[in-house]
């Protein structure tokens, strides 16, 4: 389930195995993303490092690309986060790796809990967290 070489059929709830590593993806804080962030949040005009929200956006981008394709209609239901290192500067990259932590059907909904870690290009962890996703199919 690597982010490289996507298949056309969306992953299904049945495809996930708790404990399984799902893949990883590299993300880069390119200047265009930083410019868009500053357009969205002008308070970041002078920021030299990605503010927490931009780092989170990169984290979510890596999460989505680490294993794919995701079906349309997934719902992000819960999240834990730990900011564990220095944020990224423009031009720097990081890798996001994702593991399926658990899955269950609750009140008729497919709930999958993922664990993700983001490490900078030196291999140092800068962010981690768990996402609870209501998987659509």
């Amino acid at each position: 389930m690597s982010g490289e070489g996507r298949e056309s059929t969306p992953l299904r709830f049945a495809d996930f195995t708790p404990g399984a590593h799902l893949g990883e993806a590299r993300v880069v804080l390119d200047p265009e993303r930083f410019a868009r962030w500053r357009a969205l949040f002008p308070t970041a005009a002078q920021a030299q490092e990605a503010p927490p929200g931009l780092l989170m956006a990169l984290f979510m981008n890596g999460f989505a690309e680490a294993f794919a394709p995701h079906p349309d209609g997934n719902i992000h239901a819960g999240q834990t986060l730990a900011f564990t290192g220095r944020s990224l500067r423009a031009g720097e990259g990081a890798r996001v790796s994702v593991t399926c932590r658990e899955k269950e059907i609750k009140r008729g909904r497919n709930r999958v809990r993922f664990e993700a870690r983001m490490c900078n290009d030196a291999g140092d962890e800068i962010m981690s967290g768990e996402m609870l996703v209501i998987w659509a199919v």
Partner: protein, 136 residues
């Protein structure tokens, strides 16, 4: 330095342009956020903002309260309801415990709502203030 009882409220209009910008940043082009025809067929009825766009407004509230050097250390949250396109997102928070001016970090309970007062997001965040050397 005291820890204030409340975070300064931050706001963002979830305009189609804002949602589009956030989609381009995250590269999350789920039609639930961007395609009115697709969204009309969902229980939401219209496009909704990415959940983490709402969360980004909380980070703005933290920066407004403590300055740009403050950082969240840890956070946990539940996404309770969608923010529909066009809504005004507001984020604020309340100190979870007694003030301790010597504490390096402090926990705040937070909510993110739309202008109708519907809670879109709720949780708690541990904040570290100061420069980069004060990080987790």
């Amino acid at each position: 330095m005291q820890w204030p009882a409340n975070l300064i409220e931050a706001q963002l209009r979830a305009s189609p342009e804002a949602i589009r910008l956030y989609a381009e940043i995250t590269r999350d082009f789920n039609p639930l956020h961007l395609d009115a025809d697709f969204a009309a067929k969902t229980p939401f009825g219209r496009p909704i903002a990415h959940g983490t766009l709402s969360l980004a407004v909380l980070w703005e509230a933290i920066a407004a309260t403590f300055g740009p050097d403050a950082r969240p250390a840890t956070a946990e949250m539940r996404f309770l309801a969608p923010i529909v396109e066009g809504a005004l997102i507001s984020a604020t928070g309340t100190r979870a415990g007694a003030d301790d001016p010597l504490a390096a970090t402090m926990r705040y309970d937070f909510t993110v709502t739309d202008e109708a007062g519907t809670q879109a997001l709720a949780g708690s965040v541990e904040i570290t203030r100061g420069g980069a050397d004060a990080g987790p």
